[in-house]
Symmetry: D2
Subunit: 284 residues, 4 copies
């Protein structure tokens, strides 16, 4: 096999694997990581309530969108900076890290001020100017795989970030587009062991967007961990029927609790760990 | 939601789920089932050796092809009836059931004489005359999903069998064709929970064909069980480098042992069971 | 580039291209061929009426199904031998050839008795026993590409037929399965020039099944000829709203006339011919 | 059928169809439009030479990239503003319009200074901030369909531009990602008639990127026009073996001449026009 076109992202560059450490959270280590939160940040009370739920279930990273890439220009586009503030406060209050999406270069500085991890979405996976700029930021990046990106294109996108100096990149499989019409996207579980072989970067999985319905998120989440993923990023909402975006796929509180419990067991079955009740939270 | 076009295969027809009982083996029950064996039956000694391996690792069904559907007319096409005899003997000697593929109506009676379960391959999923004829046989059928079949088409294919009287059908996800080029087929793990919701029939997964390389079979097998599959059908070979077909994807003996061990743990994590060392084998 | 795995089907085997001559009809020559007719043969009067329409518009081959592969076991399955007789009579009366589908080995002799060309459908493209048997028949075969078959698999399927002695095989692109949801299948026009390069066999296109709606058939038919196809096979029906299968995609009589007219012009534009009003029909 | 989620882009908004007039060039009218040029602008002499070729063959728009979105960060990324100047000069000297890609908001003003048409590439089809900004520009936009975008997503992307005020949008089909491995992308010819039905915007086709080899570009280009496209955008290069990017797919000068000639004939066959030798060029 000839050398891959990516260098810094290749497994050969760091054979033992990369662990991204953020306070007490280690992404890519033995412990699998649970990131959870709403699709969009809709208000202050709501994000605090969810942060409490997430922390209680062993989640260590709070997700939530302030700038939303919506297919239609007429859909809710997010709260912007106000949303970022709510997210930061809620995360801090519950000892969580915060991850949120950045959609354009002009938002990067602002988002980096509030977030611990910058998310670059699937639609922007080949937005090269944005990747380069994220490569100059001093914040880890969660890069989602494009809907029809090959593994090579995915790793070359990571390479764009890394080539600018930012080596703290984590990859996220979120489903690809296929003919299959029983899920919104086909979660490509096979990408997990393939990525673990070709790159040293941590691999996360988002099982919420692809399934589109909350009842199918749990089995897919467990499958991802069984296949070797380093963590999950899921959507949850206390009252999904009132969510401003993607309500049907958000886990109910009791479903998040069930995921947390099962996650612990499956992690152990594959030689990993997950602690539902972490040691008491102290400021990082 | 309107009624599905399939009736006998629908979950509503048998809400509690179907268990296919064959001797001491229950397919679709709490215990997950391990079916294993070579791609093709290549000789008597070889299939006996593999049967011993399979039984030792908790497998209960021996797989192996005597009639092989090969993409090229110039490839090895299987041993035919001689292969069936070897398979039957090997299975009997080690207290296993036998599953093997039937490719055409003319072979059906012969194959049914030797096998406990008739396999209908992905390429024949919409071979309606064959489905009908299998529906008149008194042997359970393992029906593989076509490479680009929707869930509805898959269940309508099962309906073709069931409509003729044979209600003992088990379904098998084996990977779909997508743009993704890092695996031969994309194993559609999401099909598992969707099938479990829409049909009462047992759902198996073949993680060998889609991955094409043995090192990636274990994570996909565990993912399938974590997502709710009722069992696995995998390829294994004591000396895969000498296999006449599909050697690179056959698990080595130690890999089958590792699968068996992990399988037990993952099954428990999702509320199922798998017993590596079954109670001593007595004739069924 | 290494040698392809197919031999008899490869362009190298017959560099100047194969022309299949049947009476006055030449498939694969300069003149593009129009095959048309109903999805299913529904009755005697109807098939005669359609045969008249087809002949009037320069069609030379009458299509129509007597044995129908239907996704659901509960759908209309065709008239069987009675349909074959109607088809033969209608074709003869209007100086047309007849093409119809054979679904299983057991039907082959019967269908060959009535048809000038045996059609093997997309779902049976890898039904190897059927391909082999068709390879022993003394009748040309129209082989449709499977819904997710690669070009190599398609040509290997043709090779199965040819390896048994029957060299008169024509290939038919009919649309592949993709994520695109604005047509039932994605007509892979690029397959035409690729096939013309890799094989010497004639290449036809079926633009009816993929589009699913009659208003979109004309542009796709013309595109196929512009891209180098040797002919078309389309569905037409005088009263499509009464058709027992696939009515919405059948061309209305005036649409068939329009296709015929445009076909003539596009054929000339790419250096081919099509004659709407052939010389007076005499028995072949 | 319920109302589509896009409004300004819908056919209902402008039932007779939009014609974008730029000097003497009308995009979306009876005459089909030929846009041609190199993948990247590589130097001054080269782009002038190509402009002469394009004008001679009836092309009216010169294409060429100054900012290139490349999959690898280590590939040639374009000449930037210097390239834009060369493009402008070459276009002006030969009475052509100029189209070139804009990759990020920060480049928009610069590119708009030099180009007559802004191209937004497939990878940026859902780069919503860029779409919005292009919607505020006073320059027509050529929007390429994303590799796995549905028609609805494509039209919603156009809607993002139009909602900001810029109504001069033209759409470009350039191939989608499928399992098919005989072309780099599968040119979705069916998208042409479907788009013509659902939207009033002009529809162009790029047959160069999908095929990847120059010998297959001509049949696909003709197919696109036969199916109803309003124009083509193709790559051409006098010495493709020396091209810095995508040389293998660039048409040779004699191939561009052949395309021009055939284009004229196919256009007429479908009721359109194309004039290889336009009336003598005078400044617009």
């Amino acid at each position: 096999m000839s050398a891959p076109p990516y260098k810094l992202a290749s497994r050969a560059f760091c054979p033992h694997g990369t662990v991204i450490q953020l306070g007490r959270v280690r992404i890519g280590g033995d412990e699998v990581v649970l990131m959870a939160g709403p699709c969009s940040i809709e208000g202050e009370a709501m994000i605090h309530q969810i942060a409490a739920m997430v922390a209680e279930q062993g989640g260590t990273v709070l997700r939530g969108g302030a700038f939303k890439p919506r297919t239609s220009p007429y859909s809710f586009q997010g709260l912007g900076e106000r949303g970022l503030k709510y997210l930061r406060d809620a995360a801090d209050e519950h000892g969580l890290l915060a991850v949120t999406e950045v959609m354009e270069i002009g938002q990067l500085e602002l988002v980096a001020k509030y977030a611990d991890i910058l998310q670059i979405g699937a639609r922007n996976m080949q937005n090269y100017p944005l990747l380069r700029e994220a490569g100059r930021a001093d914040v880890p990046v969660l890069l989602k795989r494009g809907l029809c990106a090959t593994i090579e294109e995915f790793l070359l996108a990571a390479e764009y970030i890394m080539a600018e100096g930012n080596r703290r990149v984590m990859l996220c499989e979120r489903g690809i587009r296929t003919f299959a019409d029983h899920s919104r996207f086909t979660l490509d579980i096979a990408a997990i062991p393939v990525l673990k072989e070709r790159t040293h970067l941590p691999v996360l999985v988002d099982p919420s967007h692809c399934m589109g319905v909350r009842d199918k998120v749990l089995p897919m989440a467990l499958a991802a961990i069984a296949a070797g993923a380093d963590g999950l990023i899921v959507e949850t909402h206390p009252k999904p029927e009132q969510a401003l975006s993607d309500g049907p796929q958000a886990l109910l509180p009791q479903q998040l609790a069930q995921l947390s419990e099962r996650l612990e067991q499956v992690a152990v079955a594959v030689g990993r760990t997950f602690t539902k009740s972490p040691v008491e939270v102290t400021s990082p």
